[in-house]
């Protein structure tokens, strides 16, 4: 399972990548939306974990760009949410995100099950 993690925060990037790698998943990372879009095309991940609030291109812009590509729009995108971001999650879902994970309340089993479920279903 190949995961692309698009997340500007160093702490969460390191934390989530290490947790996913411990399960045997291959993890590619990008630190902003622009870098993320470049890597999607290159890496062709099974699943994308996408932060919403980022400098340069934010998560919404990434989702919009992915939806405009016939090949890339098939890749399932799970967005990261935090407290106070319910409306952002709804907006992300309208732009094509398949699910969300609240990154402030880490639940590894939930993360892994969502990544596996959506990654296999692609």
């Amino acid at each position: 399972m190949k995961v692309l993690l698009i997340e500007d925060d160093t702490f969460f990037r390191e934390f989530y990548s290490s947790k996913l790698q411990q399960t045997g998943m291959e993890v590619e990372m990008a630190a902003d939306g622009e870098e993320g879009l470049a890597k999607v095309a290159k890496v062709k991940p099974d699943v994308i974990l996408l932060d919403i609030i980022m400098p340069k291109k934010d998560g919404f812009e990434v989702l919009q760009s992915l939806s405009e590509s016939p090949s890339l729009k098939k890749i399932p995108v799970i967005v990261f949410s935090t407290l106070g971001q319910d409306s952002d999650v709804e907006k992300a879902k309208k732009l094509g995100a398949v699910d969300y994970i609240n990154k402030s309340f880490f639940d590894f089993d939930k993360l892994k099950s969502k990544v596996v479920a959506f990654g296999k279903g692609k």
Binding site: D9, T10, F11, F12, S104
Partner: protein
Amino acid sequence: MTDIDLSSYKALYLQTARQYVSDIRQAVEALKLNPSDDSAITKIYISAHSLKSQSIMMGFTQIGQVCMLIEAKFKPLREQQSTVSPAIIAALNDTVTVATVTMDSIEKDNKEQDLSSIISTWGQL
């Protein structure tokens, strides 16, 4: 998170959290010169957002709450390209001071300082 996980990630948390506090400090200095500085407003918004998320995950809920209040205040400022008031700039100054002390407390004793006063300040703005 277990105690083992907390200690494993505390150093990383402190490194990134202190960077966010530093970023906010620099942005506040920019706002003192120009209260409409879009770049500074965005920097504060994103820094508060990120520091909120990782603080809550690490169990440092007071810092998380302060950052959530700052994020909520700065989201419309960013969207509407507004001017930051002197009261908000003063609150940010105080926040940077208490956040710096709190980071030191977390490093030394694994716990936050009492942030109820700054939380109340932001709640009233």
